[in-house]
């Protein structure tokens, strides 16, 4: 797909991979709505994109809250027009330090599912209808290797990401014929706040920098050869380069 001029919504855009993606896609000319739970946290990112001549707007929303979804989609479409690229990047790790399933509260699992699965479902449901009508659009789900590996202590997050991968495949199966692409992306281990929260004692040297991963993901978006519904491991594509 062509990035320049594309109306793009990125959730979880105030830091980490979301911030890096916003800056990268902004540099490539995407028109951006950036979403975070705190608007103030988005403002430095918006400012950097605008200073570089790009277009970006900050909207505050909690993806885990049903009441926030329609206002977010409505305000985003008012600002940019119909959304053509929707990137579900916001994630809820669950309580830290990470804990065994037997020590995980049901409410903690509910919260992880609300932000990591229901939120993306709800937001896609509002936005993908217009994509199906207009016969174009791309939905990206930021996943994790925890979605395919059963790492002890990662239960709530892991379960939500496994379901998110499958949600991505289902969107592709149902909307592919209407010109809508959906895929999930495992960015690999990155040097982010979320990684520090999950694994505070890990050696940070081998971790990928979010901006490298963002550049790789942007290249992937431009590539027409990705099979609809695919789950892509960016690391295996050389994200650490």
């Amino acid at each position: 797909m062509e990035i320049s001029g594309t109306a793009t919504l990125i959730t979880g855009a105030s830091r980490g991979l979301g911030e890096a993606l916003a800056l990268e896609l902004g540099r490539q000319g995407a028109r951006l709505v950036l979403v975070s739970r705190k608007r103030a946290a988005l403002e430095p990112v918006v400012r950097r994109i605008r200073e570089a001549g790009g277009e970006a707007h900050a909207l505050e929303a909690d993806l885990g809250s049903k009441d926030d979804i329609y206002p977010l989609a409505g305000a985003a479409a008012a600002l940019l027009g119909p959304i053509d690229l929707l990137i579900h990047n916001a994630s809820e790790l669950g309580p830290t330090p990470l804990r065994l399933l037997l020590d995980t509260g049901c409410e903690d699992l509910e919260r992880a599912l609300a932000v990591n699965l229901l939120g993306p479902f709800r937001l896609s449901r509002v936005i993908a209808g217009s994509m199906a009508l207009r016969e174009r659009g791309t939905i990206v789900h930021v996943s994790s290797d925890a979605s395919v590996n059963a790492y002890p202590h990662w239960g709530a997050y892991s379960v939500s990401k496994a379901a998110l991968d499958h949600l991505s495949r289902l969107w592709a199966a149902e909307l592919g014929e209407r010109g809508v692409r959906s895929f999930s992306v495992d960015p690999g281990e990155m040097d982010t706040e979320m990684h520090r929260a999950a694994l505070p004692d890990a050696d940070r040297a081998p971790l990928a920098r979010p901006e490298f991963v963002a550049a790789r993901l942007a290249a992937l978006l431009r590539s027409p050869s990705i099979a609809n519904g695919a789950r892509i491991e960016l690391q295996s594509l050389g994200a650490h380069s």
């Binding site: 909207l59 206002p71 479409a77 027009g81 119909p82 199906a132 009508l133 207009r134």
Partner: protein
Amino acid sequence: MKAAAFPRARAEQERLLVIDPAWSSFADHRIGDLPRFLGRGDALVLNDAATLPASLRAGPELELRLMSELDDGTWLALCLGSGDQRVPTEERGTPPRLAVGAELSFGHGLSAHVRALDPDSARLLVLEFQQRGAELWQALYRAAVPIQYSYLREPLALWDVQNAYAARPWAIELPSAGKPLRFEIIFRIAARGVTVTHVTHAAGLSSTGDARLDARLPLAERYELSPENAARLRATRDAGGRIIAVGTSVTRALEAASTSGALRAGNARTELLLGPGSSLRTCDGLLTGLHEPGTSHFALLEAFAPRALLERAFRHAEREGYLQHEFGDSCLIATGSLSGRSISPAAEWREAG
């Protein structure tokens, strides 16, 4: 006719009255039957405007209903006095008289100045919001609720007033003809070789509660038809297919886009009014809600079918318990809908007399 008092959960079970002007006949169906009445080469045109929450409170004595965004970013708004959505609009209290320059605060960080007053009515004014861009839209979505009328049982949520395929929030009230169209139905229609496409039309306020102001409705409304979609519809027409508008708002937009003859792409405002005797250049048929004789919506239907047939069909619908208004049942008016089918149309005729 009874009003639907709330959005219904099982949209596919909603009813569809099919009226064929060529056969001067009508028949009872369910909305899920709609694909049967459209065929290869036809086009179905949706209004993809999302519905803005357009009712704002500036205290217990004053509600403002946004009517239309003007070209300079200000808004035309209607003032209503004491009472809420459960009180019929015409029985609402007299709103306080506002002066030019007055500042209004709606909470949630949203505020506006009164920029101008309508010369004919103190209830119409031009508002300028003090917020811009993302700050404005975020605050507006927090402060405002959907416009609704007294026949509805419960307060509407924002999702109650959205069509499944909506994008830009241009509509002040739900473009309701599209509400029963779940994607299951839309995809079945597309699979029959029907072109499913769209315009964006800023459907406006349907009632002010003041007969003198209502006579000015509908106001000029903005629409956009993309070059790509205009070309698809011209191709439909050139190949002899029918163009079916979903809703009076789509009809208004498509006919406005073809006032000069051929259908042209554009982003414009239209003041076009359609009614009995209007000659339609683009629309061959209409999917709409049920509207009672005497309303401006009914007058528009008369551009598609003779009044006597519509009255007969709607009397039948009333007897059969069809529901009206934005969450009510549907009606397809299209020549050729009941002809050419395997069963004799005569078997389905309802001559209500």
